[in-house]
Assembly symmetry: C2
Homo-oligomer: 292 residues x 2
């Protein structure tokens, strides 16, 4: 199947590689063209604009940093929308505001094509080993077309959240918020234990081999326990944007989210300090505030 | 082995039953004597005071509600301490302040006996099926004596947190705090999703079968998703006491714990409203504050 892949960051390259290895014809585009080199070696066609990338595509994937980048990709100069073949399905994988995907989905429909919101859960290493968790929301026929291709990227069937494309983004935002809450909780617990004379590492190992024996606690918890936030899976500014979207939605829907406000502030401080760490590095704010 | 078991609430009865079924001779005491009836049927000797319970015991277990109840058990009228045989080991399983166990451990040592802090993780159903997670801290020889008996109650070896008995209580407090954080995070996420038009139950099922596929998220999350907080595993007042101990320790050690403050306040509101629910029922505060 002719597939276009737009946006070749850490996540995009890993996902595009799996689509190539599943035997699909891939045309790829990235704003910084050099990122496409490894995919070109695997047989992908590299082009210079989103419009060129999608002109023969049955399915288009996009995976970019934020709402502005996604809008530029779709409706900016040389954007994909005017060039998209009728009936094509655009899997919008970026973490963006629900309304951004809703608005773009309408524009796709007017054009005779479809946008399905399909944000993914997992770090770049999960993307590389095709172990993402998948969800999708949008037009039912379009989801049917997308499903077998999307599922190449995941470890389980994609969960269907209905026909409102924004719904998938809300689920994604809830997930990143809950991850942030797990990180803050570990940071507070490990810091209290350490200041009370315990071995931070032993407390981490105990909890993540018993009550909290789960990859997200093990993986993020290791960074928090060791207070060493490398490598950078996602930068603090990226996930701060996600928490901002959580709080935007909470304000729109009139929901009080005290935990989300705290995580957002921790991420803001981390971005302000220009630390080059994984986003879990916001856990350092807890250690610092305890004088560690 | 002659074992005494003091404190027969939901947890205590389940733990004592497993000790009986492992073939130990059990003498049991509870302030409200009627709670001992099922154990008597299984062969336990029921006595009227803590002092009577421990007079021939090599190992004593205590599992009571709070610090005051534990102190009364040890040093109150007919308390166990004067009656405790030399060399006996008292496994203090209650969730109490680190300093309470430290102080009582010194009193035991003066008496020629030992107190080992051995708080347990798990609800009454985990206690009944001998699937608790176990930790202990205190005198090394005493822990060696206690270990094979204690491990009858658990699903894995007891993790040793060193010779300071208070250390085990700090780990226990950290664990209850982290559970509370998981519950508040789910409450905020599910409420945001519901008010954004999603099915609360579907969001719960998605997360607890993927990123958060863990018994604590599944079990507490089910209550939060259904907004039905029965049966009562632990009452809100009990866990509010635990969060109070977390904040006491945080103040003593000068640690800023914004999440812990929020959970404590949610539990305070739940206690004030006199709701007869499981402690996870504090999640209702999030739903209420969102107008649900």
């Amino acid at each position: 199947m002719n597939i276009a892949f737009l946006g070749l960051g850490n996540m995009g390259v890993a996902m595009a590689t799996n689509l190539l290895e599943a035997g699909h014809q891939l045309t790829v585009y990235n704003r910084t063209a050099s990122k496409a080199a490894p995919l070109e070696k695997l047989g992908a066609t590299v082009v210079a604009t989103p419009a060129e990338a999608v002109q023969d595509a049955a399915i288009v994937f996009s995976m970019v940093t934020d709402d502005a980048a996604l809008e530029a990709l779709c409706t900016g100069p040389d954007g994909l929308l005017p060039a998209l073949p009728k009936g094509a399905v655009h899997a919008s994988c970026s973490t963006v505001a629900p309304d951004t995907n809703r608005r773009l989905a309408e524009a796709h429909t007017e054009h005779g094509a479809h946008l399905v919101a399909a944000p993914v859960f997992g770090k770049p290493d999960a993307a590389a080993s095709a172990k993402l968790w998948l969800i999708m929301a949008g037009d039912d026929e379009a989801k049917k077309t997308l499903r077998p291709v999307l599922e190449v990227l995941g470890q389980a069937p994609a969960q269907d959240f209905g026909t409102d494309p924004g719904a998938a983004n809300i689920v994604k935002l809830c997930g990143n918020f809950m991850l942030g809450a797990a990180i803050e909780a570990m940071a507070e617990a490990f810091t209290l234990a350490q200041k009370s004379g315990l071995d931070r590492q032993q407390v981490y190992e105990f909890f993540t081999s018993t009550l909290f024996n789960l990859p997200i606690y093990k993986n993020y918890g290791k960074l928090v326990a060791e207070r060493h936030y490398q490598p950078v899976g996602a930068a603090p500014a990226i996930i701060r944007k996600d928490l901002r979207l959580v709080l935007d939605e909470a304000r729109t829907q009139t929901v009080s989210m005290p935990f989300a406000n705290i995580i957002f502030d921790q991420l803001s401080a981390t971005v302000a300090k220009k630390e080059e760490v994984d986003w879990a590095g916001f856990a350092e704010r807890v250690a610092e505030n305890a004088g560690l």
